[in-house]
């Protein structure tokens, strides 16, 4: 295998095309109706809570589940009725699924042997793949002699060695401890940049998705909620599900937009008003009801001599110390409980639970969505 980015010779821009695919198990709808073109060479993540359909969708690409409706195409070829062993996909399973009765070398070589590759090329490619996953020279080991992290790398090497049309990863990092997980995220990203295989990654961890993906597909209850690159997904979620699912966020009560000239503000119940900030985005029309979502990093302790707008008197409820920062929960009159993010840990002593605190809520980067009917 090559260490240069390889893009499979042109069958078009899309390595995988899912067209109106659906999957039912009797009365249970796992996937409602999904259409998704996957660009060649991109790192695409399917993200969502358990039961959202992401694994079912992955299995449909791999061929382990047949769609109840719709088609799947890989490299321009309709594979909807093609069995898994003829689809040219490489999959890394959640439990790695390494063959226990074979050595590391034989595991990695398996895909090449099934493709009747010449013996010498197999030896060369397996070594190259093991080098790529930083397991050089471990070909002779037995699977049970490896740690979890090493097994995961073997599973990866095994799936990439024959340069499949698309690499499929089913929550491959979920069994690893936090540090190893973070490290593997870096390595996977590096690997992807090096080899350039089209990759579909499934996870329920939104932090993981944000850190690794070119595009993220957020799913819920069998449907796609949003497809966006990470930055856009974080700052511009299109509905309240995505807004709440990605990162931490505070949902404010429903308010009305009040526009006057170039500025705008939001009027809440009880007469509270927040200034909309200088974002310049087009806001909904005057008098529309909106739900406002504010990230914890947009709430800060109000400076004594700082700007006066959007300052609220609140009371500290509790602190959650995270090393680099502290998440402080405050109780506000009119907006309920909000979480704010403060650097370091000094706030724990300076503002213990129960103390009064003045905070400034910046709506510059807030997410403004038209309120759903009946929302509070």
């Amino acid at each position: 295998m090559n260490a240069q980015p390889t893009v499979k010779s042109g069958h078009g821009e899309f390595a995988v095309e899912i067209d109106k695919a659906a999957k039912n198990y009797g009365a249970v709808v796992a996937v409602k109706q999904v259409s998704l073109p996957i660009r060649r060479g991109e790192f695409l993540t399917l993200l969502g809570p358990s039961g959202c359909g992401k694994t079912t969708l992955l299995n449909m690409i791999a061929g382990f589940e047949a769609p109840t409706a719709g088609t799947i195409s890989i490299d321009g070829r309709d594979v909807t009725n093609v069995p898994p062993h003829l689809r040219d996909t490489g999959m890394v399973f959640q439990n790695y699924a390494l063959f226990p009765h074979m050595s590391v070398f034989d595991n990695v070589a398996f895909g090449l042997r099934m493709r009747k590759v010449d013996k010498r090329k197999i030896a060369h490619d397996v070594e190259a793949a093991l080098d790529m996953v930083k397991l050089s020279g471990m070909g002779g080991r037995r699977v049970r002699q490896l740690s979890g992290g090493q097994q995961q790398r073997v599973a990866l090497a095994r799936a990439i060695v024959f340069e499949p049309s698309v690499l499929l990863l089913d929550e491959p990092l979920s069994a690893l401890d936090k540090n190893l997980r973070t490290q593997m995220q870096f390595e996977l990203k590096e690997l992807h940049q090096k080899i350039g295989l089209t990759t579909v990654f499934v996870t329920h961890d939104q932090g993981e998705a944000l850190s690794m993906s070119d595009r993220i597909v957020v799913m819920s209850k069998g449907e796609i909620q949003q497809i966006s690159p990470p930055l856009e997904l974080y700052s511009r979620p299109v509905n309240s599900f995505v807004a709440s699912f990605i990162g931490e966020i505070n949902q404010l009560p429903v308010a009305r937009v009040k526009r006057s000239g170039n500025s705008a503000s939001f009027a809440f119940k009880d007469g509270l008003v927040l200034d909309a900030g200088a974002d310049g985005r087009a806001l909904p029309d005057d008098d529309t009801e909106v739900s406002i979502f504010v990230r914890p990093e947009s709430i800060a302790i109000a400076e004594p001599n700082g700007p006066v707008g959007n300052v609220i008197e609140a009371k500290v409820v509790s602190h959650i110390y995270q090393g680099t920062h502290t998440v402080t929960r405050i109780e506000t009159p009119g907006f309920g409980r909000l979480d704010m993010r403060v650097g370091g840990g000094q706030i724990i002593d300076s503002k213990p639970a129960g103390s009064a605190i003045n905070v400034r809520v910046s709506l510059d980067n807030a997410v403004i969505l038209k309120a759903a009917p009946g929302a509070k």
């Binding site: 699924a97 063959f99 226990p100 099934m114 493709r115």
Partner: protein
């Protein structure tokens, strides 16, 4: 106090279970003609007589032939049966499972007598075939069960992974499933061999003088002679089957093979 009673009970049970074997082995080294316990000396000449007695020698070889073919054929059928009943659902599956387990419930002499009648009808009662077929039927439940338990413990994601990497269903079976079933198959074979080699009741019906197996020959001997030769040959059987089980335990784990615990 409770612990003392517990260990006493265990010891009593163990003595009860092993006493026949101990008695047999001790009588086999008794120098005098009559079967006596406790033995009045030490001599191995009964073992020499056991080895030189023609009927014991021929029946030993007969046993090897019957056991080898019966165990091997039963293993092949057992693998197929276990695979089919575990992986597929079809009409009549329950019936098949029942038929496969039936020899465990049906008395051995019924099975033996039944095959004797069948053999008589087909005119094959003088050959090995009828004995082998009888033994296959008797040991099949054990092999099937051993393989079935192994099969249940095969991780399906391994088979999926192989398919994903390009293995056709046949390749998955040959390269992944069967190798993973090997402990169950081999263990089943060994249990089948031990059962077949020591099988008496059904064999009494379906063997002829020419095809008699060792247990049948031993029975015939004991009806005519009462010297310790019979103890010697019994001791040899006991020791060899014990060694056989020991090997199975050391290599595969007896618990796994007898399907008491999963991998």
């Amino acid at each position: 106090m409770g612990k003392f009673l517990f260990w006493t009970l265990i010891t009593v049970i163990l003595i009860f279970l092993t006493l026949p074997a101990v008695v047999v082995i001790m009588s086999s080294v008794n120098p005098t003609e009559t079967l006596a316990f406790p033995p009045k000396g030490f001599s191995l000449h009964w073992y020499a007589r056991a080895f030189s007695y023609d009927d014991f020698r021929t029946s030993f070889y007969n046993g090897l032939i019957v056991t080898f073919f019966a165990s091997t054929i039963a293993s092949i059928i057992g693998v197929a049966a276990a695979y089919v009943t575990h992986r597929y659902s079809f009409r009549g599956r329950r019936l098949l499972e029942f038929l496969l387990a039936a020899p465990l419930i049906i008395p051995r002499f019924t099975t033996g007598f039944g095959f004797l009648l069948v053999g008589a009808g087909l005119g094959v009662n003088n050959g090995y075939a009828i004995v082998i077929v009888t033994h296959i039927v008797l040991v099949l439940p054990f092999v099937t069960r051993s393989v079935y338990v192994s099969l249940v413990n095969v991780d399906r994601s391994l088979e999926r992974s192989a398919a994903n990497l390009g293995a056709s269903p046949v390749n998955v079976l040959l390269r992944i499933t069967l190798p993973l079933l090997t402990p169950g198959i081999v263990g089943g074979w060994i249990i089948a061999a031990i059962l077949s080699f020591t099988e008496f009741t059904a064999s009494l019906y379906v063997t002829s003088y020419a095809t008699q197996t060792l247990p049948v020959a031993m029975y015939t001997y004991v009806r005519e002679y009462t010297d310790p030769t019979i103890a010697a040959i019994s001791a040899l059987l006991i020791i060899s089957t014990t060694v056989g089980m020991f090997i199975v335990d050391k290599t595969l784990g007896l618990k796994r093979v007898l399907a008491i615990e999963s991998h």
